[in-house]
């Protein structure tokens, strides 16, 4: 009887989460013609264009996670402990909340108006400094992998700020004083106390940022019209029309993405639990 109270929740989850995903899982182990069980679809993931898509997706996620993580940490540190005026902190936190949620189509559009062919910064650089970003020599384009990375940074580093700020706050003043009283320098304090305590949070959040970028579809799709080889773009093409001429290969492709997301979330929650030991 008591179990009845949670039935609607699990029923809903089964209908609209487990069943659809199970459909993909089962399909990924089936032959597209005969329906016989096979692992061929997973072996086919080694096709060059699929490997390329996975490598660029992973590369973009990795670069923006690490760069966004480092810059976000530096900005959070600057705002909290860097001696900036006090009123800046709530400002940065609010902006970070908005920026980390401002993504998808409008974000992609905003960057085409900034660094696109007719973008404001592109025009300013051309008229002001005579630098043509889109010339052969510079070879820049916002509609490329580098462009996607620049755009993703917009929601990556604010997310790091939001998560790391409470952790920096959690560093107890007594620890610093204890280190100073024992004659430790500022560098030693960071090297032996603060960084080791913050490290699980820093690593964990970087992993979270990785998943954040890896699962993103709309932003990159809008920016590059789906032309840059990314896992999400391949899956998008596969849903719209069977581009591999093998429906079940599409399922395997989707499962590969889920596996990578799962690994990153497990890594994140493991490190999160570690960091809670010191910071509460």
């Amino acid at each position: 009887m008591t179990l009845l109270g949670v039935v609607p929740f699990f029923l809903f989850a089964i209908l609209f989460l487990f069943f659809p995903v199970a459909f993909l899982v089962v399909g990924s182990f089936q032959d597209s013609v005969t329906g016989a069980p096979t692992i061929q679809n997973y072996l086919d993931l080694s096709e060059p264009n699929i490997v390329l898509a996975y490598t660029s997706s992973i590369e973009i996620s990795l670069v923006t996670a690490v760069a966004g993580g480092i810059f976000g940490f530096m900005l959070a540190y600057a705002v909290i402990l860097g001696g900036l005026p006090r009123f800046i902190r709530p400002l940065v936190m609010t902006f970070s909340g908005v920026a980390s949620n401002f993504a998808g189509i409008p974000l992609a559009l905003a960057f085409t108006f900034t660094l696109g062919l007719q973008g404001l910064v592109t025009r300013l650089l051309l008229t002001g400094l005579g630098i043509d970003l889109y010339s052969k020599g510079v070879g820049f384009s916002i509609y490329t992998k580098l462009g996607i990375e620049i755009v993703y940074m917009y929601f990556q580093f604010p997310l790091m700020i939001l998560i790391i700020a409470p952790a920096i706050d959690g560093l107890k003043r007594e620890w610093r004083e204890a280190a100073e009283n024992l004659g430790g320098s500022s560098r030693q304090y960071w090297q032996h106390i603060a960084l080791p305590i913050l490290l699980p949070t820093l690593l964990g959040t970087t992993i979270l940022l990785f998943g954040n970028a890896f699962g993103a579809q709309a932003t990159a799709y809008q920016l590059t019209a789906g032309l840059v080889p990314l896992v999400t773009n391949l899956i998008t093409a596969q849903i719209s029309g069977d581009v591999f001429h093998n429906v079940n290969l599409g399922y395997a492709l989707a499962m590969g993405m889920v596996v990578i997301m799962a690994i990153s979330i497990v890594g994140y929650s493991f490190l999160q639990r570690r960091s809670e030991r010191w910071l509460r």
């Binding site: 949670v6 929740f9 559009l109 899956i235």
Partner: protein, 291 residues
């Protein structure tokens, strides 16, 4: 100062150490740091504001001032209808999500604490299953079989609400659960029961009002996710705001800039309301999932 009874040796050492610590504090340790802090801060501000400014500037470059805004707000019927559609879907999503999550979180806290890890696991799954994969599965699973939902308008609307409810699980469950933690649900339930209230009445007239702040912050976050969502809406071919904006971005010049600015304003309002609601409570910052 340091004349606490801890032995002569300590008495000798402590003043010396205190002196050096005081020196360390007097030293302008932040001198170089502060310059670096300002540099990092300014880069961050530029990164944040330049794209917004560029978009704003572009939206105002029409011959007639504010023509782009005028066009989308008053001449483009699709702007209003798509925004309205997304808002309506958002409201339905919130209602369904609340009706599922509140009783579940309540029941787990009251009677089934041993199920908590399983419920938490399920509510966190949307972080592992990106919207793209979810909609892929939904499309394939419900195109044939006993529930061919993709075949009709109503079915597609059911699917989009269902998908958004799933996306809302992590945020809704966490805010509802922390709301429940703050009140004494056991006593409230017993008091209501002793006065003869049944379960629906307890939930609707006792529990819901007591956690309304938590419900509101979860709801606004859900609304913020749903309003601009693109991936799921476009694959389910819904006339929603996200796909409208994507199409506009391909077809028009200045209007997309205007709508981007409006959409940024909407994000700002939603986040402002959430921050306002979360004031004083210890809820962690939360992040929406429509990338």
């Amino acid at each position: 100062m340091s004349n606490v009874g801890i032995g002569n040796r300590a008495l000798e050492v402590i003043p010396a150490l205190e002196g050096s610590a005081r020196d360390a504090r007097r030293r302008p340790r932040f001198g170089a740091n502060r310059v670096l802090s300002w540099i990092v801060f300014i880069i961050g501000v530029l990164y944040f504001l330049v794209p917004l400014y560029a978009t704003l500037e572009f939206s105002l470059r029409t011959k007639v001032p504010f023509a782009a805004y005028n066009n989308v707000l008053f001449k483009d019927a699709n702007f209003a209808s798509s925004l309205l559609y997304s808002a309506a879907i958002g409201v339905v999503t919130i209602v369904v999500s609340l009706l599922i999550i509140v009783p579940t979180a309540y029941w787990v806290r009251l009677r089934l604490p041993r199920l908590r890890p399983y419920v938490e696991f399920v509510t966190l799954l949307p972080f592992v299953i990106p919207p793209l994969i979810l909609v892929f599965g939904l499309l394939r699973a419900y195109s044939t079989g006993p529930l061919p939902l993709t075949g009709s308008e109503l079915g597609l609307n059911v699917l989009i609400v269902a998908a958004y409810v799933v996306l809302s699980f992590p945020y809704m469950y966490r805010s509802v659960d922390s709301g429940l933690q703050a009140i004494d649900i056991r006593s409230l339930t017993e008091a209501a029961q002793s006065m003869g209230a049944g379960w629906p009445r307890i939930l609707l007239t006792v529990i819901f009002p007591n956690i309304r702040v938590a419900l509101l912050s979860g709801s606004f976050l859900t609304l913020a996710i749903v309003i601009g969502e693109y991936t799921i809406a476009s694959f389910l071919v819904r006339p929603a705001f996200g796909p409208y904006l994507a199409l506009l971005g391909r077809d028009k010049a200045f209007e997309p800039a205007a709508v981007s600015i409006i959409s940024f304003g909407l994000t700002w309002i939603a986040m402002g309301v959430i921050a306002l609601l979360g004031r004083g409570s210890r809820t962690r910052v939360q992040v929406a999932g429509a990338r």
